[in-house]
């Protein structure tokens, strides 16, 4: 029995009623359906970014990660001091133990390889996938956060976190270094000696450079984050990219590729330790970071702006 037959036979009076007296009684007709869309407050973007930053910097997981990153330079400082006390070792140990500022550069070059990328990937990879996984994404978009606006806020948040990660490492290393090792003119990689104030400036330049490098990684992680509802997948995917890049970088046959790999560029902050500062290499590094950001950002936007949110 077809439904159409049934309907005409058993429910002759069944006509869709778009507007009924009952409905209109309950609510008198409104002034033309509020034809003017609500005013967008100009501070709305910053309010959402503030909310995002609040979540990121209050989330226990992220705080633990920042704590670990702050702890590593302290451990490194203590260890180097103990080692330096009973041996005449050369190279990095003497240079770090010999000057309070050198621990900062040593910590950055050690942590930039793996631990800092992990921290950044954890936040940026979680950005969209995490919200999708918990279902909060549908409520943010229904609010309506706006897809492009949400993506921009998520990325800016990840950029702030990238610089925070770098700054935490540098600050912890700087304080530890100042406590444990002698303060005085800094001997650079190129053998030149510069005063403490200039050493601090060079630390600042390094932090800016490494922060930008981490922000480039954040863009990659954010792009991956738009493809999944499992945030650990986006984080792991980002780390796979980092590790594969490290491996490729180590293989001599792929020498030409190294210039385009993020990990190879991250360590380029040591350009700030040369005299004069190796601005050419650092500018190239920043350009590479910019290229990653533009490319990954486009992928993220293309994917996210048209995605069906079914979580």
């Amino acid at each position: 029995m077809s439904t159409a037959e049934t309907r005409t036979r058993t429910t002759p009076g069944l006509v869709p009623v778009p507007e009924t007296s009952r409905a209109t009684e309950r609510r008198p007709p409104e002034p033309p359906a509020g034809a003017v869309p609500p005013r967008r407050s100009s501070s709305a973007f910053w309010r959402l970014l503030g909310s995002e930053l609040g979540l990121t910097f209050r989330r226990p997981r992220n705080l633990v990660m920042l704590g670990v990153l702050a702890g590593v330079p302290v451990v490194m400082g203590v260890a180097l001091r103990l080692v330096a006390a009973d041996a005449e070792l050369g190279g990095i140990v003497t240079s770090v133990a010999g000057n309070s500022l050198m621990l900062t550069f040593a910590s950055l070059s050690f942590l930039v390889v793996l631990l800092m990328p992990v921290a950044v990937a954890m936040v940026a990879g979680d950005a969209i996938a995490g919200e999708a996984g918990t279902g909060t994404l549908r409520y943010l978009l229904a609010a309506p956060a706006g897809r492009t606006r949400l993506l921009a806020v998520k990325y800016l948040n990840a950029v702030v976190f990238s610089f925070a990660v770098t700054a935490v490492v540098a600050l912890s290393a700087l304080v530890t270094g100042l406590i444990m090792f002698p303060v005085g003119p800094v001997t650079l990689l190129s053998g030149t000696t510069v005063p403490v104030a200039e050493g601090l400036l060079r630390i600042l330049i390094s932090v800016g450079y490494v922060g930008a490098g981490m922000a480039a990684l954040a863009a990659v992680a954010l792009a991956l984050s738009t493809f999944t509802e499992v945030s650990i997948g986006a984080v792991a995917g980002t780390m796979v990219i980092v590790i594969v890049s490290q491996v490729l970088r180590a293989i001599p046959q792929f020498d030409g590729l190294a210039d385009y790999l993020l990990p190879a560029r991250w360590t380029g902050f040591d350009g700030a330790l040369r005299s004069p500062i190796d601005t050419g290499a650092m500018a190239e590094g920043l350009l590479t970071f910019g290229a990653y950001i533009v490319l990954s950002g486009s992928v993220a936007w293309a994917r996210f702006s048209g995605k069906d949110i079914t979580s």
Binding site: R7, R26, P37
Partner: protein, 321 residues
């Protein structure tokens, strides 16, 4: 077939006055499954509109399309006669259950979603969040982490999130799902209260009784298609009421009913039923007693939406939990 049913209004463009209008709204998911099939909905302002259908009939998918979460494969829709971005701040929504940040308090969660609304003011958020929490009875649990909320509290928090601003339309997807009877009663009462303020409520449900109790209008879905929509009265009006008489003398009763002109008289051992038509039940009773037929009980069986659904689809309504 659905388009035929919608023919009288199918050609009309979305009107500015209605709360929700959809025309030919269709979603085909990757894999080819059609979740929603040329849906033509007209939800009048001020109505409590029940969006009724068994599990898997396309209710949630429709709501996701209405809110811009899922792109329709075909068709169009408007909310409140506005472009979507302009309409959404005036729409409160609950889609497929609550979803919040487990490590935040109820209050912090509401602040978070309020921050995502570009038209909401940070200056008034404290007051609005407090009012929304009080409205759903969560004032005392405002500072508690969401992780520690019970299922009923989570559902109420989701409704509070939908009430953060002045709303013209609430879209609630199965708001009583998973609640105990007490929680269900509370949510239904809340919906009635909100509707009494003039807010249009579009509420999906797979429970017929719920829609009959709460709603002024309903649309009935079956496997992605709209099988009927209208006021509850007009929907049930297509089915007839029957009078049912318990009596030790069914043959006598049947005679009297037939003599009164009632149609489709059916007698069993201890009861007789017939279509009531335009007859008043008390007159039927008087006639029976007047003819010396003993009446042990008399009731009027009104048609339910379930009868409507079964009548329209030829299928039973798959009712669970």
């Amino acid at each position: 077939m659905t388009r035929e049913a919608g023919a009288p209004f199918g050609a009309a463009p979305p009107s500015a006055g209605a709360a929700i209008v959809t025309r030919g709204l269709t979603k085909r998911f990757r894999g080819g499954q059609v979740a929603v099939d040329s849906l033509d909905l007209d939800v009048p302002r001020g109505s409590v509109y029940g969006f009724l259908g068994p599990n898997g009939s396309g209710k949630t998918t429709t709501i996701r399309m209405l809110l811009g979460l899922v792109a329709p494969t075909a068709g169009e829709h408007t909310l409140l006669g506005l472009p979507l971005a302009g309409a959404l701040p005036r729409v409160g929504a609950l889609v497929e259950g609550p979803a919040f940040y487990p490590y935040l308090s109820g209050e912090a969660n509401l602040r978070r979603f309020d921050a995502a609304d570009p038209t909401a003011s940070g200056a008034t958020v404290r007051r609005r969040v407090g009012e929304a929490l009080d409205r759903v009875g969560l004032g005392a649990a405002a500072g508690k982490r969401y992780r520690n909320y019970s299922l009923g509290m989570r559902q109420r928090l989701a409704i509070a999130a939908a009430l953060l601003g002045p709303r013209e339309l609430l879209v609630l997807d199965e708001p009583t799902n998973g609640l105990d009877p007490q929680g269900t009663r509370e949510v239904r009462a809340l919906v009635k209260e909100i509707a009494a303020d003039g807010t249009t409520v579009f509420v999906s449900s797979h429970l017929l009784a719920e829609v009959e109790q709460m709603c002024t209008h309903a649309a009935i879905m079956s496997t992605g298609r709209l099988v009927a929509q209208g006021t509850i009265a007009s929907l049930s009006g297509g089915q007839v009421s029957r009078v049912r008489i318990e009596t030790p003398d069914p043959a006598g009763a049947a005679r009297v009913l037939a003599a009164l002109g009632l149609a489709d008289v059916r007698a069993t051992d201890a009861e007789v039923t017939a279509e009531l038509g335009g007859h008043a039940p008390e007159r039927v009773n008087a006639a029976l007693v007047g003819e010396g037929v003993a009446v042990r009980g008399l009731s009027v069986v009104r048609p339910s939406l379930e009868d409507v659904f079964v009548g329209l689809t030829g299928e039973g309504f798959d009712v669970d939990g």
